[in-house]
């Protein structure tokens, strides 16, 4: 394709070119909204049918890690927005710094997620043959808060009294938990790849006040992934916490 500088031949101005690119990204994000929407729909239907199992499943998640990760992700959105601003005002060094900060925070998020997944494996909360909501309270490991564990045992026993099939219904909660957070994490990994590509470009000084469309468009994607987490956090971590 022929282009003059940063302007491709089918566009009249750089502004028109940028508007076209961002509109295209938004159209893609609309499909993403409906894609994640289907999972939220499956979640809503199952939660309303098996509220006890969803409540007890949610209470096994670590709220400190979840809330901490929310802060980390929102912070990464801020640094991403600042990277866009830096490009717009022509501070080339700041673009690199803010992009690297965004990548760093995204990596921290994924690391914490890995720790959380590992915990669920250790506690026999992976849907499948070995799934048992009663396993963890009965098998404490080093570092567990015994008082909290006794409380958890009490809650699990209460839940079993309400819904004797909790080991079946709990698997629905954890299938959705891993499905939704896993899909979200996959988006983060793709986002991290895009950020590495942007960081390379920023080292070459590619992004200027005249041309910064890639930063803007990847920013839109990154903020969208942030929004998905803004909904996932209360829906997965904060069910029935007041009991």
């Amino acid at each position: 394709m022929h282009r003059t500088g940063d302007l491709y031949e089918q566009f009249q101005t750089l502004e028109q070119q940028k508007e076209t690119a961002t509109l295209g990204m938004w159209v893609f994000l609309v499909t993403e909204v409906l894609f994640f929407g289907g999972m939220f729909l499956a979640y809503t239907i199952n939660r309303s049918a098996f509220s006890t199992a969803f409540g007890i499943g949610s209470n096994t998640l670590d709220i400190k890690l979840g809330a901490g990760n929310t802060v980390v992700l929102i912070m990464s959105s801020l640094t991403m927005a600042m990277a866009v601003w830096s490009a717009q005002v022509g501070k080339k060094k700041l673009v690199s710094i803010f992009l690297i900060a965004t990548l760093g925070l995204g990596t921290v998020f994924l690391g914490v997620k890995a720790i959380e997944y590992k915990q669920k494996f250790d506690h026999h909360l992976i849907p499948g043959h070995g799934f048992d909501m009663k396993y963890h309270p009965a098998h404490p490991v080093a570092g567990d808060d015994l008082k909290e564990l006794a409380l958890e045992k009490e809650e699990v026993d209460k839940a079993f009294a309400v819904d004797p099939d909790i080991n079946f219904h709990g698997q629905l909660y954890f299938s959705l938990y891993f499905g939704m957070t896993g899909l979200h994490a996959l988006h983060m990994i793709i986002g991290a790849g895009l950020l590495i590509w942007l960081i390379k470009g920023s080292f070459a000084g590619r992004f200027t006040p005249q041309y910064n469309t890639p930063v803007e468009v990847v920013g839109l994607y990154w903020h969208f992934v942030d929004i998905v987490w803004i909904f996932l956090f209360p829906l997965l971590y904060l069910i029935d916490r007041h009991r």
């Binding site: 938004w26 239907i45 709220i63 929102i74 600042m82 698997q171 920013g219 942030d226 007041h242």
Partner: protein, 113 residues
Amino acid sequence: MSEHIVSPKIYFAIFAALMIGTTLTVWAAFQNFGPFNIVIALGIATIKATLVVLYFMHARYSPKRTQLVIICSVFWLAIMLALTLSDYDTRSHEMQPGVTRLDLPAPSHFFTA
């Protein structure tokens, strides 16, 4: 170029608002508001998402065409949720009075956990 540049001041203000929203939603989860717990949680999440879309994603300063696309996404999502949920809500009662289909116990051969 007539591009609108959002100042860092606004970005940091939105960030602060998002942090307050996160704190609020965690606090609210530990209070017993009965059926309103979920309403409050989703309300706060929606406000946070709106702030991200309007300012971090520049929707407020975008062309009308882009804004229309954003509104469309919410509209189609609402159709998907509303029609599916109303179907689930009205259909399953036919199966057994007083019991929704999903309340039935899992078949015993399904899992052997």
